[in-house]
Symmetry: C2
Subunit: 402 residues, 2 copies
């Protein structure tokens, strides 16, 4: 529980690396304290595909999940989730939730979308219906979801874009962030945090969980360092509880993603958490942390798990390979997860080849655990002063199991 | 653990209903004691679709699973499972396993199959390859799997068949049962039960788990009472550890299935467990028990769960119905399962509509629990002398939730 002298959201830096920009911290939220650097598993449709909330919270120790506003807005709808008491209660999740603004999904849709100063019009991928997101409406949607950490609507350009387009888009994203932040402050001021008793119903505009929320603006600017810096400087005025770095993992070469993060590290306040959106591969996690990142999310551990790509302490295991068909060893002998404690590679391969649901469950369980273990290793290295050595070790490690 | 004065397999009747043929018993096996009447969840491909072995054993208290010889023979192959130490070790399952003979799958295949006195030739549904099952070979396959309870190869005719075809088929099934039983006794005599130490390898013919096995013959005879009785009488000579009743759930009207079971109740020895294969709906479970059945299995709880049909103490819930979209109640307020303790109907419906893996997990969890709860209620009623009242209650209960 929160110490009573702390506001609902606060961030403490508890250790800093002397040689990189890495730091270990504690992010206090109304749904628990999060040890940073943290990796947030993705629960797109109010579920991390294949895992129960019990496995996530109790077995894996997940302190914060990400959910996708776009998907929940379309199905089952944010009003319904709001009536059900918010996303925590709807999906029976006890810990913190961060929601994106829906912008990324809208801009990665293949269908019709039209952007103007007001917002973006898009078609549902489910039935083609036309919808509009504005900076204000996505705050309203996320407040109905009652997520702990909300994101502003941003435009997330594809890679590559011209400097001129990136500049115009970034300026619009900044204007949207201001509008979103004003709307968020107005909305949360009119419905001060209060707890909702059993059987009490919500007044219009009231947050369904009655707890406080934080809003993060998003640094954009394509892969142009000058635009990234200009964007970060412009967002500082908003004085929000944290900052996100968007526009990564949109097809650019990996070194450029790291450079985009580096560009603003010295501008974003070190007293606030920084969230690099949509990254990354296991070996990239400490690279982002070395550049001052505190929070990350990615579908890779869960999606790759389902596709047969498993991350272990010895590298990747492509489970369909014939060499695993009678391999009695656990997937990762150094891993303490339920999957590795209970099952062999041969059994996992059999389940994968047979298209069994249990494969997705066990594979996701392991991969999420692997990501969380990496984050624990990173945090431990920062706190114990050995992060540079850890980074060297990760850089020299093989990608695939020998 | 087994009392030392009991053989590896033994069956005790601990209570009998004074008004029906129902009884409560204990079936002792090398992998634990099973309280009967028992429902066995189906783990076709060495997994109960959607559930971890931990959920099955620890959360649900499943004492015995069924696995399908046909499927495991084709993929990953019984030799592989044998080399991996048998099915228990392969799938990491601590409790008892019953395997069918593969006959039911072979005879329900649409593809080419050819039956003769020797056995049956069939095509793999996976790749069309031709295979042959004989009464002897399916014993060998099941011994490689090292299941606790094996079934003999039987012919399972469709419904309807002529009396003449049913008679000829039944006689062949009896001849096959004799051959299977002789082969089983020879095989198990040459590899006496002994425990296999870590690192020890198997000798040819040795059971991979080094434990004892039981073989059940199967009563057939279509839906003709005279043939059923003749079959049961012929099988008595085999003096096996239990008897199965097959040829049910092949499209016949439900009352006829019960009559087929009734026909042989007085013939099959009351000192041995009776297993009605492939049944049934929740309301049918006590009907079979009332007719002397001790063991049942069915894909219904798991398959129907995945298809959106959930069994509750108040009747069936078809979860896709719009009326559940904002229903905050648990699926079954009287149920103690993880699903009902944690999630609402609205959330389950959302997961179902979204095609989420977690839907299959939570739905199967509940439905299997519901079946096990029914079996516990039945056993409790028998032991406490109230089984006739329980039966009347079940017969008057609504099929669907009001």
């Amino acid at each position: 529980m929160l110490p009573s002298n702390l506001p609902p959201f606060s961030f403490e830096v508890v250790a800093e690396c002397a040689h990189t920009r890495a730091r270990a911290g504690l992010l206090h939220t109304p749904h628990g304290t999060i040890e940073t650097p943290v990796f947030m598993p993705v629960g797109t449709q109010a579920t991390v595909k294949g895992l129960t909330q019990r496995a996530l919270a109790q077995d894996l120790g997940v302190q914060i999940l990400l959910a996708n506003t776009y998907h929940l807005y379309l199905r089952p709808g944010h009003e319904l989730i709001g009536r059900m008491g918010g996303l925590h209660r709807f999906m029976s999740w006890p810990n913190a939730i961060l929601t994106d603004s829906g912008g990324f999904q809208v801009f990665s849709l293949r269908g019709l979308r039209k952007i103007d100063e007001q917002g973006v019009v898009f078609q549902s991928h489910l039935n083609g219906d036309q919808h509009r997101f504005t900076p204000e409406s996505t705050v309203d949607v996320q407040l109905a979801l009652a997520s702990d950490i909300l994101m502003v609507l941003d435009e997330c350009p594809e890679y590559p874009v011209s400097h001129e387009y990136a500049r115009q888009s970034m300026h619009r994203t900044v204007r949207w962030a201001r509008r979103a932040n004003e709307h968020f402050r107005r909305r949360t001021a009119e419905s001060p945090p209060q707890s909702l008793g059993p059987g009490q119903s919500l007044r219009p505009g009231q947050s369904p969980t009655g707890t406080a929320h934080a809003l993060f603006p998003i640094v954009q600017g394509g892969l142009f360092a000058d635009l990234r810096r200009e964007c970060a400087n412009a967002l500082l005025d908003l004085d929000t509880d944290g900052y996100a770095i968007g526009g990564l993992s949109v097809g650019e070469p990996r070194p450029l993603s790291l450079e985009a993060v580096e560009a603003t590290e010295g501008i974003l306040p070190r007293s606030k958490p920084r969230y690099a959106m949509g990254v990354g591969m296991p070996a990239e996690l400490p690279e982002y942390v070395a550049r001052g990142v505190d929070m990350m999310d990615c579908v890779l551990p869960s999606r790759n798990a389902r596709n047969g790509c498993l991350f272990t302490s010895g590298g990747r295991v492509i489970i369909k390979h014939t060499r695993y068909k009678d391999d009695p060893r656990p997937l990762d002998e150094k891993c303490q997860c339920y999957t590795c404690a209970s099952y062999s590679r041969a059994y996992l391969r059999h389940l994968f080849q047979s298209g069994e649901i249990l494969y997705a469950v066990l594979a996701t369980w392991h991969n999420v655990r692997r990501y969380l273990d990496i984050m624990r290793e990173i945090r431990h290295a920062i706190v114990s002063g050995s992060f540079p050595e850890y980074l060297r070790y990760v850089r020299s490690a093989p990608v695939d199991v020998e």
